[in-house]
């Protein structure tokens, strides 16, 4: 009964807070929920660019995407992705640090975009950051795997930011899997 009472109290507050939550919003800051133009999102049509001559890292990108991410819900990060075909280069900034991420760190990385069953898409990127004193990785640099899943047509990504101890280490037991999510938009095309 005690649990129930307190739970109800908090739930009421949470309910009101969550009604205003924009978790499911497209965050395109316009008045149209499903307009691909204004959303600047990635539609299946973007794949047209995949087979052109720009599928390398040298030419201008097919598009530049940016995602404003909430990191472990309370913190923030951002990633800017240059896409050439399915090849990606990216810059990731952790605005606040965490137990395995140094404060205000910006990292450059590469990766790929791929589709998988269920009409899902993933942006997979890899970064290496500096050692974090006192962390599980001790004095070693830390490698990060960023996985952003998305259903094309909806400009919202959700996934993980996984830390591995060591430089260029992306397999084996992770030191930690952080959660990230937020709107993703095409900035240039």
């Amino acid at each position: 009964v005690k649990n129930l009472f307190l739970l109800l109290l908090i739930l009421t507050a949470l309910l009101f807070a969550s009604i205003g939550c924009d978790c499911g919003d497209d965050d395109d800051d316009d008045n149209d929920d499903n307009d691909d133009d204004d959303d600047n999102d990635t539609t299946p049509d973007d794949d047209d660019d995949d087979n052109d001559d720009n599928d390398d890292d040298t030419g201008p990108p097919d598009e530049v995407l940016t995602a404003a991410l909430e990191f472990e819900i309370r913190k923030t990060a951002s990633v800017t992705i240059q896409r050439r075909g399915d090849n990606l280069t990216a810059s990731y900034t952790a605005n606040e640090g965490a137990d395995l991420i140094a404060d205000a760190t910006t990292m450059e990385g590469t990766g790929s975009r791929f589709d998988f069953d269920g009409k899902y898409r993933m942006y997979s990127l890899k970064f290496t950051g500096p050692a974090v004193t006192g962390s599980l990785c001790a004095g070693d640099p830390i490698s990060y795997s960023l996985t952003l899943t998305q259903q094309p047509g909806y400009n919202f990504v959700v996934g993980g930011f996984t830390a591995y101890c060591g430089d260029g280490v992306f397999t084996g037991k992770p030191a930690k899997i952080y959660r990230v999510s937020g709107p993703i938009n095409v900035m240039e095309k």
């Binding site: 005690k2 649990n3 307190l6 739970l7 908090i10 739930l11 507050a13 949470l14 309910l15 807070a17 969550s18 009604i19 939550c21 978790c23 499911g24 919003d25 497209d26 929920d33 499903n34 472990e72 819900i73 309370r74 137990d99 790929s112 791929f114 998988f116 069953d117 269920g118 009409k119 899902y120 993933m122 997979s124 795997s145 996985t147 952003l148 899943t149 259903q151 047509g153 909806y154 919202f156 959700v158 996934g159 993980g160 930011f161 996984t162 992306f170 397999t171 084996g172 037991k173 992770p174 930690k176 899997i177 952080y178 959660r179 990230v180 999510s181």
Partner: protein, 594 residues
């Protein structure tokens, strides 16, 4: 001589009557279900006020530590004080890894207690995952890891089975035996929800092994068996005065709570109850040649079906934080990850790559991602994203292996057949021809626009595919999506969780519930009259609603994000053999084109 014969007769009579008079079997059992993923991913972000309440903002490790210190260790300590008692502690294998990493002293205590016979340790899965909703292969990797984890930490593992959320199913019997388990503890409510209240027998046959019900007590003077449960539930609550870990301010070790429970056990002991383990209780029954009863046909599910609608709460049903839930997104992503992991192992074998270490870890991460709490009962955003982040990372590891293998094989486009275990050059086949609907599906979209497209894959036997596309919506009401497939009168027919290649029929009219949601681990359910329905778990992994009165099958998602389009794919198949084969090809061992 006559006197001697009479004495002998009396002695023999007494001997055979012993269980009913002299040596009653009296056990007080317990089942402390501990879940180190009680708040999967921690409590950061749980309280929505700005940056939250600092002392409530516990990360994953802090939350896990709190569970160990405030609730688990006090129970272990209690039983260390009473060497003649035995407690049953259920936990995922991951729990032991947490103890080894950050609480070695507690792990030592647990080992001491278990080796002295003071604790029976139960574990059937490495993570507290919704294993009855996923392919057998995922559970195999999980149970093998949990058994290896117990061995690694030198902790004896019991042959008793109890599971996260009380998951239970008849299909567990065969694999339990295969992996050395012997006694299933079947949740009383999962039985009662299906057939009403019942008087528990001492134990039951469960395939070739045994089953008892809990927390249903046994009062069987005829056989001289008296069994009661001193505790069955979330172990976290006993030592904390019923507070759970979502309330860290109050989730504190409470001496009085532990003392009160100790008094109960002392009382039972005075009443000649053995404070014992499930293993010992069942062994005592078998030693006394107590006959095992036969249970009715029981549908698989969880321990509180009346409040969770079977598995609905984890597979489409909304909870308190419905704005944050995405059941189908979580469950389908994890189903996709299953496919990628199998494909990675298949193509790596073809390429001759040694990927045992990375793939072993990927399966571990997948089991964590399949955690029940990512979609139910009342998951908040942190738990939802815990599921997605883990399954996404498992998939990423698999994709890296696939790309590495393709490079090794010199292939740019490959067909990876995980059933035939081959990887050859190939591209995805063209879409089959569009056709008219062979059956009428009742689709309810709460105002969203939708399309329904049927494809004919084969005509002998007939195989159809239907794709239901729900357009993005505008309002919260658009969270509700539903498709009802028409059935014809007859029994409920499913492939049970942790089985493959067969179906079981259940007499629909025998059940007392109004409705019930089934997980469909291979995606298959009968529509009656030789027709079968298969959900493609990459697109739609919702519970299937059945009722005693109607043969129709309903899939309902109350957590579909309104601004997002959703695509569901089902197959309708004629004939059981073809349906089982297709379910395997779609959901268990598919061919992926990468």
């Amino acid at each position: 001589m006559k006197q001697f014969a009479l004495i002998l007769l009396i002695c023999m009579t007494l001997m055979f009557a012993q269980p009913a008079f002299g040596d009653d079997i009296k056990y007080a059992l317990s089942m402390f279900h501990f879940n180190i993923q009680y708040c999967a991913g921690g409590l950061e972000g749980f309280v929505p006020f700005g940056d939250g309440l600092p002392s409530w903002e516990l990360n994953a490790e802090e939350t896990e530590d709190m569970i160990v210190v405030e609730s688990f260790e006090p129970v272990v300590d209690l039983f260390l004080l009473h060497p003649s008692w035995s407690v049953t502690l259920e936990m995922q294998g991951y729990f032991l890894d947490v103890l080894a990493e950050r609480h070695p002293n507690v792990l030592n205590k647990l080992r001491t207690l278990a080796n002295a016979g003071g604790a029976e340790l139960v574990s059937f899965h490495y993570s507290d995952q919704l294993f009855i909703a996923y392919p057998l292969e995922d559970w195999r990797r999980s149970v093998e890891l949990t058994q290896a984890t117990f061995a690694k930490h030198n902790i004896p593992l019991s042959s008793t089975v109890f599971c996260q959320e009380g998951q239970a199913g008849e299909g567990l019997a065969t694999v339990m035996e295969e992996y050395g388990y012997y006694t299933m503890v079947w949740p009383t409510n999962l039985w009662g929800y299906q057939y009403g209240d019942f008087a528990a027998e001492p134990y039951y046959d469960f395939g070739d092994i045994k089953m008892i019900t809990g927390p249903k007590s046994v009062n069987d003077p005829g056989n001289g068996v008296f069994m009661t449960w001193s505790f069955l539930g979330d172990g976290e609550l006993l030592a904390t005065n019923d507070w759970d870990p979502y309330f860290p301010w109050f989730f504190k070790h409470d001496l009085a709570s532990v003392s009160a429970y100790e008094d109960i056990l002392l009382g039972l002991e005075l009443d000649n109850y053995v404070i014992g383990s499930v293993e010992d209780y069942v062994a005592a029954l078998e030693d006394a040649a107590i006959p095992a009863a036969t249970p009715p046909d029981l549908l698989e599910g969880t321990w509180q079906p009346s409040s969770t609608d079977g598995t609905h709460k984890w597979m489409g049903g909304r909870g308190l934080w419905f704005n944050q839930e995405r059941d189908n997104y979580v469950r389908t992503i994890c189903a996709c990850a299953h496919r990628e992991l199998l494909a990675a192992e298949t193509i790596a074998a073809e390429a001759g790559l040694n990927i045992e270490t990375e793939m072993g870890e990927a399966w571990r991460i997948l089991s964590l991602g399949q955690v029940t709490d990512a979609t139910g009962i009342n998951p908040f955003r942190g738990e939802v994203e815990y599921g997605i982040s883990h399954c996404a990372e498992a998939m990423r590891v698999a994709r890296d292996v696939i790309e590495q293998s393709k490079s090794e094989l010199g292939l740019t486009e490959v067909a990876i057949d995980t059933l035939a275990e081959t990887a050859t050059a190939g591209t995805a086949p063209a879409d089959p021809p569009v056709t008219s609907a062979p059956i009428v599906v009742d689709i309810q979209s709460s105002g969203r626009e939708f399309t329904e497209t049927w494809y004919e894959l084969d005509d002998d036997p007939a195989i159809y595919k239907v794709e239901i596309e729900f357009a993005a919506g505008d309002f919260e009401q658009h969270k509700n999506l539903q498709a009802i497939f028409p059935g014809t009168a007859g029994p409920i027919e499913i492939t049970q969780a942790l089985t493959e290649g067969e179906t079981k029929l259940y007499d629909r009219a025998a059940f007392q519930f109004d409705h019930f949601y089934l997980p469909l681990a291979n995606g298959l359910i009968g529509l009656g009259d030789g027709l079968y329905l298969i959900k493609d778990q990459a697109y739609v992994h919702l519970g299937a609603e059945v009722t005693p009165t109607s043969p129709d099958i309903t899939f309902r998602d109350e957590t579909a994000w309104p601004h997002q389009a959703h695509s569901w794919i089902f197959y309708v198949v004629e004939g059981k053999t073809a349906a089982l084969d297709l379910a395997e090809e779609i959901n268990l061992r598919p061919t992926l084109y990468r």
